[in-house]
Subunit: 313 residues, 2 copies
Amino acid sequence: MTLAVFDAAAIERATTSRLVLDTIRDALIAHAEGRTHVPPPLHLDFAEADGDCHVKAGWITGAADFTVKIATGFYGNPARGLSANHGLVCVVSARTGQPRALLDDRGLLTAWRTAAAGALITHAMARPAAGTLAVFGTGEQARLQALWLAELRPVGLVLVHGRTPDKAHALCDTLGAHGLAARPAGAAEAARADMIITATPARSPVLDADRVRAGAHVTGIGTDMPHKNELPPALFHRAQLIATDDHAQCLDHGDFGHAVRAGAAAEDGDIAAGLLLKAPVDRPEAAITVADLTGVGALDAALASAVLGRLRE
Amino acid sequence: MTLAVFDAAAIERATTSRLVLDTIRDALIAHAEGRTHVPPPLHLDFAEADGDCHVKAGWITGAADFTVKIATGFYGNPARGLSANHGLVCVVSARTGQPRALLDDRGLLTAWRTAAAGALITHAMARPAAGTLAVFGTGEQARLQALWLAELRPVGLVLVHGRTPDKAHALCDTLGAHGLAARPAGAAEAARADMIITATPARSPVLDADRVRAGAHVTGIGTDMPHKNELPPALFHRAQLIATDDHAQCLDHGDFGHAVRAGAAAEDGDIAAGLLLKAPVDRPEAAITVADLTGVGALDAALASAVLGRLRE
């Protein structure tokens, strides 16, 4: 029997945003409750080709499957007309060790679980009446986060802030085509939104903490390495509630870590994001709340397994 | 484009022992010369299912491909009629990071590279006139090591020593069918052969060092974890030449490490096995020589890439 391989098109056809959101909600809760296994990743560097490879594995304790995800980044590829990033996900039975299938997903699952985590936690932490959303960044994540948040709650207006006006306009058009009111905005205006999601590769803060209004919620999803930083320490200092998707990761290479090292947040001043998904969050109307998401490997396992279930139906 | 998957049958059809031996010779030399990258493996445990998963990556510096190998062992499988071990090898371009193919090899490549390394180093270190081979163990490795050594040099007689007489007889029949004279032997007789290869999962030495004759060569390939031990420290004490496939690994979890910890060998008393494959080994006629092989991950990369080349021809 030859191993089944599903390509990105098949994965896209089989998956709904609802499946992703439900799966990631459960997985974030499991992670917050310590019911996940995520061993240290394996890493290879290819200096001459300006490339690297990360292999990550994850398992939700007791789940039928676990996953091994191979992801590469070769940064000279675009100049040759190739995508910089490639990867695939191997789904393996946690009962017998047999490979069940390969998802040649071109990074779709990672993008989806990242977007779902951001939308879920933003919805959970923002005031019920919050209606305007600002997204910093104009890429795939900015788009998905806005669309999926709008599946979870009404979003009256999306303010799109990007460095490149053309890209900001293009994203507004896309969101508009999905029925969302959206327009480009400067950083100062975007910082005053009810809900803010940052999805950039910034190396210094994109948001002016002083401009963020009382009652706002901010979710940072772009900071996934120590040299990156989207949210300023001063924002954490103002925040009354700080959530992290993984305490150790966020401390090591998230915005939360930058804030702790700057003395703007206590090292134990965060709560596990997944715990906030279990029941309505008790937050003062005027509080500023912040979520720092660095990406949890066990979510890959949950999502790949759920998607494979649909593919096999 | 869907990722190509090749199954074990296709891999077996495309591969010759000559291809394996040539590829592994070059890869062992590259490893000895420091031209390989082998990051620490990734590991997951499944206590309830009595299973584990190891993910290993390897690259021969400058080679076109690298590999990520997923291997699982679920030890309750045989009771359910399933193999305990499963796995697959992903071949990835080291130039672009694109997955090139999946080898659903069911562990064939690992078995082949292990056997080739054992046969190559045994041939290189044994006296040119050595003619009798003893194998300790009756499994796939014992069979392959004997057959492939016989491709490298004449083997006049194979003495097969195993705990289970039926299995020893069966292996002798198999070797006989391939034109090799073979008969079962007790441990004492086997220990007096010109060449000895141990391929067992033993946890205490299978060989009496005092019985090994001057001029003999011994290769141990079964010891790949700290709790395993095939070759007695006293054998290393008698040896004039000790080779290891990977110094750090053999020290950590090979027979060489047991000998060093017992004070029977100096910690720097070994030579890299690959270096002995570059030119005829200068060894006194009466010397005892020993090779401790624990398995080198970069060999997987070299072999998978070579096999994929044949599959694509």
